[in-house]
């Protein structure tokens, strides 16, 4: 073997093994070295190039080595993933773009019309791209986790037909033909009342994503607007109105992660509902766990973190003084607001869990 042939062989081997899992590389390299040497000995006329041509495209060779299941999100979830990704990208990017562009434009309004427009649009595009990327990351992470979990769970326990009863709408979880499958073990098509409306799930998901995106990218959007009575014309004029931030933006770095995490839990729960499509044990368990986590996080957020702007009462009073007789001045008491909000959240969450328990017990396929 000439040095040139040696070099060519090593290049070929490298082109194959760099596409393989690390643990396989060295041994496969040695095997290929042996194989190529043998082939060259058997047919010296062909030369190294002839031998390598016979072996074919290194990418194809490597592909044949790869174990099945080398993907982040497999065919079982891919359709749902693609579809949800569209929704999330759309409702993260569009509202963030509009709100961010509008608030950017309003801020630089005094600098002139064109400048305000240019700044608003640039800021809006940057925020929208970031929002879309975050949404893409979150959805991909959720589905990749589900895929991984299913694969691990699938490896650990062997399939029995009884599994079908428990998870009637599990999307293709048991794709491999089971060895002892019997039609009698098929669960009935879920009762109409047991089905979870796709529309409801989508509305919740859209709401959560939009709210999340706005909280992350334009938190100063949430403000109280106080205006002078009978203001006519441009309400954006600073001397006629006062914008008082609702949230504690100075502490936002501490608050936002908890807020987003809590919304993220709700999102995961909704996605599970959407994927399962009907009330069943998995939906019930997820709903109870998510509800507990969300109530705990809400208590933390509302009672232990300084969620609301601490200067709100003073700023309201100031605004009142500056604007004279304000048309509408909310009476702000942080304690009452947080307690009321917390009670509302707990009530709503319990109501949802109650509905899920009732529907699961009453209509879910028995198994």
């Amino acid at each position: 073997m000439s040095p040139r042939e040696q070099d060519l062989m090593e290049r070929y081997i490298y082109a194959v093994v760099r596409r393989l899992p690390r643990a396989m590389r060295e041994e496969t390299g040695n095997e290929l070295r042996e194989l190529i040497g043998d082939m060259l000995d058997a047919d010296p006329e062909a030369g190294m190039e002839g031998v390598l041509r016979q072996l074919g495209d290194p990418a194809e060779f490597a592909r044949r080595y790869s174990p099945p299941g080398q993907y982040l999100i497999g065919p079982e979830y891919f359709e749902n993933y693609k579809w949800l990704l569209k929704i999330v990208l759309l409702c993260a990017a569009v509202p963030v773009f509009l709100v961010s562009a509008a608030s950017g434009a309003a801020e630089s309004w005094p600098d002139g019309y064109y400048q305000a427009l240019a700044r608003g649009i640039t800021g809006g595009i940057i925020d929208a791209v970031s929002a879309a990327l975050s949404g893409f990351g979150a959805v991909t992470l959720l589905f990749a986790a589900a895929e991984r979990y299913e694969r691990l769970a699938g490896k650990k326990k062997s399939w029995t037909p009884a599994d079908l009863k428990e998870k009637p709408a599990g999307p293709g979880k048991f794709s491999a033909a089971p060895p002892s499958w019997h039609p009698a073990s098929l669960s009935p098509v879920p009762d109409k009342n047991a089905r979870i409306s796709r529309g409801d799930s989508i509305v919740s998901i859209v709401f959560i994503v939009i709210f999340c995106a706005l909280l992350i990218f334009v938190p100063d959007l949430f403000f109280l607007l106080v205006s002078r009575e009978g203001v006519e014309g441009n309400w954006m004029l600073a001397d006629q109105t006062a914008r008082i931030p609702l949230f504690n933006l100075a502490q936002w770095g501490r608050i936002l992660p908890v807020f987003v995490f809590s919304l993220g839990i709700g999102l995961a729960d909704e996605i599970l509902r959407l994927v399962k499509g009907c009330y069943c044990r998995a939906v019930l368990v997820s709903n109870i766990l998510c509800a507990a986590a969300q109530i705990a996080l809400s208590v933390w957020l509302l009672k232990f973190l300084p969620l609301f702007n601490p200067d709100l009462p003073e700023q309201l009073a100031e605004a009142n003084a500056a604007l004279g007789d304000a048309a509408w001045l909310p009476n702000w008491n942080t304690d009452i607001v947080t307690s009321g909000l917390l009670a509302f959240i707990v009530l709503l969450t319990l109501l949802e869990v109650g509905t899920t328990i009732y529907k699961t017990a009453r209509y879910a396929p028995k198994g």
């Binding site: 396989m24 496969t28 040695n30 095997e31 290929l32 070295r33 042996e34 194989l35 040497g37 043998d38 082939m39 058997a42 016979q54 072996l55 074919g56 194809e60 060779f61 044949r64 080595y65």
Partner: protein, 114 residues
Amino acid sequence: MGEEKDLLENLSLELRRGTLTLCVLSQMAEKRYGYALVQRLEEKGVPIDPNTLYPLLRRLEEKGLLSSSWETGGSKPRKYYLRTPYGDTVYRRLKELWAALSDGIDALLQEDEP
């Protein structure tokens, strides 16, 4: 014409794919290295590309049907494969299945002859 040739090639590839495991297992009662197996199968009229055989050997080893060992005594290091006892059992079962299947297919194809 080209299309028909491609189609035929694809179909024959698919037809052979499932049987290759059986062919390879049949030869592994004694230890062999990869290229010797390529040559042997070709002699017997069952040609198999090395880029199909090597990954297949690796998969059969992972499933416990074959075992392997490197021998460094000769002119260059060689990896030898050998059927395991589990591989023997699986091979016997596959052979029975093949016999039944090929009888059935023969009967079907003969029916079709004028």
